[in-house]
């Protein structure tokens, strides 16, 4: 039984979530093939073949996969699984994976396993439930295991050193159910939240979007990404893709600095596995202090500029 990993859509490099999903595949054991889909993905397929431990790279290069629409992608994946006799289908738990994996699973009549955080054996996995307040160990009785993988829980495999082969896969056609209209993607020169070594996050305490520039300046000094709580996103201070938490991004950087964030469980669900947590909050009773390694009770409007100054030295 072998494993099929569905690559995070890319037309160039292999995305980090694909590498961590391959890390989870390595824990399950056996060889992992990778399905690369999209339009104009030849370079991505070649890059994928160089990833350590990759067997065959299946490439589906067609217009109907350009925007990774679930209605077009799911039949492709289901067909590839049946043709290849795969026992496991792994996606990263990104918005792409979360959107497509259950659709694939339903086509295969399988109950998927969301956001695994550990592999116990080939059919048994750990996954957080209740916003990470409990961890369930679940065993699948299905012939094919359709799984999404939490990126923070697994080591990425090396992007080089492999020598996989590349095979073209027949496209499955346009489902005619949905079409792409537009995208409004956040542009940033900073590292991506889910792969940043340091994250500076702001909450409602920031009071405005303008004040977030203070965090940008600190982040630039630290080579950090900028994140936010739901309250800050809902208030329109920053775009939705900044949100960290149960329903936002799950992050585990080496250093997470929470500024003006109270520490609701839904926020903690997204960052409590960070190596070192710093909290800056003027309320010494704020729950964030219960999990912070270093807590500073202070007015952020004074502390953040001071911190920026101090780390510049």
């Amino acid at each position: 039984m072998s494993i099929l990993v569905i690559a995070e859509p890319s037309t160039g490099d292999v995305k980090k979530p694909t590498l961590t999903t391959l890390g989870a595949a390595a824990k399950i054991g056996g060889t992992a093939d990778v399905l690369v889909l999209g339009q104009g993905v030849a370079a991505a397929a070649d890059a994928t073949a160089k990833v350590a431990g990759v067997g065959t790279v299946l490439v589906a290069d067609a217009a109907e996969y350009a925007h990774a629409l679930a209605e077009n992608v799911a039949p492709l994946v289901a067909a590839a699984v049946k043709a290849g006799g795969y026992g496991h289908v792994l996606f990263a738990a990104t918005t792409f994976g979360k959107n497509v994996a259950p659709r694939v699973a339903a086509l295969l009549d399988v109950q998927p396993i969301s956001e695994i955080s550990a592999v116990v054996s080939a059919d048994t996995f750990e996954r957080p439930i209740y916003a990470g307040n409990a961890v369930a160990t679940v065993q699948s009785a299905d012939a094919v295991k359709v799984v999404t993988v939490r990126g923070t829980a697994f080591e990425a495999v090396a992007a080089t050193g492999g020598s996989g082969s590349v095979t073209a896969l027949a496209a499955t056609g346009e489902a005619g159910l949905s079409s792409f209209v537009s995208a409004e993607l956040t542009k940033s020169e900073r590292p991506e939240l889910t792969s940043a070594r340091v994250i500076v996050s702001g909450g409602r305490g920031m009071q405005s979007g303008d004040n977030f520039h203070m965090l940008d300046t600190l982040a630039d000094k630290l080579g950090a990404a900028v994140g936010a709580s739901r309250a800050a996103v809902d208030a329109g201070f920053v775009p939705n893709d900044y949100q960290v938490g149960q329903t936002g991004k799950i992050v585990a950087p080496e250093l997470y600095i929470a500024v003006g964030i109270s520490g609701a469980i839904q926020h903690l669900a997204g960052m409590k596995d960070s190596k070192v947590i710093v909290a800056i909050n003027k309320d010494e009773e704020a729950p964030i202090f219960q999990i912070a390694d270093y807590g500073l009770v202070a007015d952020l409007f004074k502390a953040v500029p001071e911190l920026t100054e101090a780390v510049s030295k």
């Binding site: 918005t95 396993i113 307040n133 961890v135 009785a141 329903t247 469980i265």
Partner: protein, 249 residues
Amino acid sequence: MKILVAVKRVVDYNVKIRVKPDNTGVELANVKMSMNPFDEIAVEEAVRLKEKGAATEIVVVSIGPASAQETIRTALAMGADRGILVQTDAEVQPLAVAKTLKTLVEKEQPQLVILGKQAIDDDSNQTGQMLAALLGWAQGTFASKVEPAAGTVAVTREVDGGLETLSLKLPAIVTADLRLNEPRYASLPNIMKAKKKPIETIDPAALGADFTPRLKTLKVTEPPKRQGGVKVGSVQELVAKLRDEARVI
């Protein structure tokens, strides 16, 4: 346009979750239960579409114990027209929920089905996508904007890089994200009115539903506890700790 909304009764999001000492699950006795927060958003969206004249009838469905009547009643008080409870005390996993919803969709023939993006107990984030696959319909997941037009619906989705808008052929499935709307509180008169709205109770056997779990929960444990650290007295002390003790900057 008829809309069907799926609502799940879950542990209230404010409750502090406790794992049972025998590791068989989490403590549910005497715990406050509520409508899944994403499902409140789904109901609110349906009600707004009806208020705008884009929808004609809203049917709310829940699969769960008798007490899920209350959850349906809450949706009726928000403005839904009638409810269906597929009553069971069994643990129902997303694939089985999706299959059950499919039979109800075939019976009710809605043009739009709105679900929450995720139930906050199992955190699966699967049911809407699976229902869409089983019906062969389009799916607009993690929606922050829903705009029906003739024969289609435009859905803006919250994705990792920002926002993405798709046009879906109707009938379609939408799953609600947090910023789709802010759910209303039901007014007292509407709560009273909701008491008179019909709720049909259906025996799962009548739908041919099979709730046999495909995933067996072997155990439920507490996540590793994070030790709280220290309070520092100044920014200088913080920077010193981060440099010399934690060595992260």
